[in-house]
């Protein structure tokens, strides 16, 4: 445990230059939200929600860059120090992943608060349970489905590149891996569609304010829905979350195993 906490400390010392600006950028997004002053309430809400969606994407990109800076460490020789240290590759990989997930969770919880504020500005007020769903459940769900596997994949890719040197003849496995990724993603997507809704759903936002449906629930084909009570509540499918968590674990195990093969 002492070794793991030391590696987390090391991650923090190495990465605070990335993590603090990321958290600090929330002030920028809050400022950006206030700058949206179009008259129509629905349009204003849409633009602000779009801004926050951009913040989510940029945050994920920063986390991926933060976690994947293995090549520069290899060049500077710091990776050599880590490879020679007693903790197993799995411990190193888990420490990197845990730190990035911790920073990411703090970031997305804060984004959840910003969403709550954006809704409040539009006159949509959440009860306590819906607020918890918004600031805790949604970040957890979103990270499990999107961010966790992406971070784990970034780690796997970078360790793979370091281990098998994507240069000279070594570029072949790299190209195979890159070309294979969309195929695998498609295959996962198809598999997910087949098993969707086979398990009980995660019933978040059961008490979501009626005003949300009035504002957003009238998309194409759903014009007849004018209130929450008319909507057949389904919740969030749990299968993508379980599948992506399993995939994350597989990526992390593979990255930890490949760590043992890395030369420096």
């Amino acid at each position: 445990m002492k070794r793991f906490s030391t590696l987390i400390w090391l991650e923090h010392r190495r990465n605070w230059m990335w993590s603090l600006p990321l958290l600090g950028s929330l002030l920028f997004w809050a400022w950006g939200i206030k700058q949206v002053t179009v008259m129509d309430v629905g349009e204003r809400l849409g633009i602000r929600a779009g801004l926050l969606a951009g913040a989510i994407a940029i945050g994920t990109l920063v986390l991926c860059i933060m976690i994947g800076r293995i090549r520069s460490e290899t060049r500077n020789g710091q990776y050599q120090v880590l490879l020679m240290s007693p903790p197993a590759g799995y411990t190193h990989i888990t420490a990197r992943f845990t730190y990035a997930v911790g920073v990411g969770f703090a970031y997305y919880v804060a984004i959840g608060f910003l969403f709550w504020w954006v809704f409040a500005l539009a006159g949509i007020h959440f009860d306590a349970r819906s607020l918890v769903d918004l600031i805790l459940a949604m970040p957890l769900y979103g990270m499990s489905v999107g961010v966790f596997p992406l971070l784990a994949y970034t780690l796997l890719l970078m360790v793979f590149v370091s281990a098998y040197r994507i240069s000279g003849k070594g570029w072949i496995p790299g190209v195979v891996m890159l070309l294979g990724t969309p195929v695998v993603l498609q295959w996962i997507g198809n598999g997910m569609t087949r098993i969707l809704w086979t398990l009980p759903s995660w019933r978040v936002f059961e008490n979501v304010p009626a005003a949300v449906y009035e504002q957003f629930g009238q998309g194409e084909g759903y014009e007849f829905i004018t209130s929450a009570s008319e909507l057949d509540y389904t919740g969030l499918p749990i299968e993508p979350m379980l599948l992506m968590l399993a995939l994350t674990v597989v990526f992390l195990i593979l990255a930890g195993r490949i760590w043992q093969e890395v030369e420096a």
Partner: protein, 226 residues
């Protein structure tokens, strides 16, 4: 035998690091690994550290694969591989929490004797960083020390304090492999000298037998490798 190489060849993408090298390293020796640039010195030390894997042949350290024995091996690479934010106090935290054999009191003593400033490495000179890295390495109670060019790019005074620290901290049951271009300065340290030329073993000889023959390690370096 503490460490052993049997018919080891290491090929890189475009060149060959070592070719068919067989060596034994018993406990309690200070070995000079000598050769010109590109002769395979770093490759040899990295193979023993488990940072490289042989293309053919076998490398064993403490009767196992080097990577699996890394907790018992000290490797000081030629790269200036410390994080720029790291202070000696951070280095102590890092080492004492990761390595069971790290002696914090010994580290503090080495910082004093090597005159390492207590500030971030990014504000240290190359020599100061080199001395800090050596203090981190020598403060461990390992049995195998692999020191790759610890004197490279370091001023004369620092080189002397590094060499005297190596002598002071060496215990008779420990094996040190030291690669250096400063052959004359380090000569007094060596009990055995391994001369490498273009990845092959040119000569493996005890320093004592050289001296008995009226030769020094430096003379032999010129004779064998020139």
């Amino acid at each position: 035998m503490l460490a052993k190489l049997e018919h080891v060849t290491k090929r890189y993408v475009k060149n060959e690091g070592l070719r068919d090298l067989s060596l034994d390293f018993p406990a309690g020796e200070v070995v000079g690994v000598l050769g010109l640039n590109g002769s395979g010195k770093s490759t040899l030390l990295k193979l023993l550290a488990g940072l490289l894997f042989p293309t053919s042949g076998t490398v064993t350290v403490f009767d196992g694969a080097p990577r699996s024995k890394r907790a018992n091996i000290v490797f000081l690479g030629e790269n200036d591989a410390l994080w720029p934010w790291m202070t000696p106090s951070d280095a102590m935290k890092f080492m004492s929490n990761l390595y069971d054999d790290f002696d914090a009191a010994r580290f503090t003593g080495l910082l004093d004797s090597l005159k390492v400033p207590l500030r971030k490495t990014k504000t240290m000179s190359r020599g100061e960083r080199g001395r800090l890295r050596l203090a981190m390495a020598l403060a461990r109670n390992a049995k195998l020390y692999l020191l790759d060019e610890p004197l490279a790019g370091i001023d004369l005074i620092s080189r002397e304090s590094i060499l005297s620290s190596i002598v002071q901290e060496w215990h008779t049951d420990e094996t040190i492999l030291l690669s250096t271009h400063e052959v004359a300065e380090a000569e007094g340290l060596f009990e055995r000298a391994i001369y490498l030329r273009e990845g092959r073993l040119a000569l493996d000889v005890s320093a004592e037998s050289l001296r008995e023959g009226g030769k020094s390690v430096v003379d032999t370096f010129r004779e064998v490798l020139a």
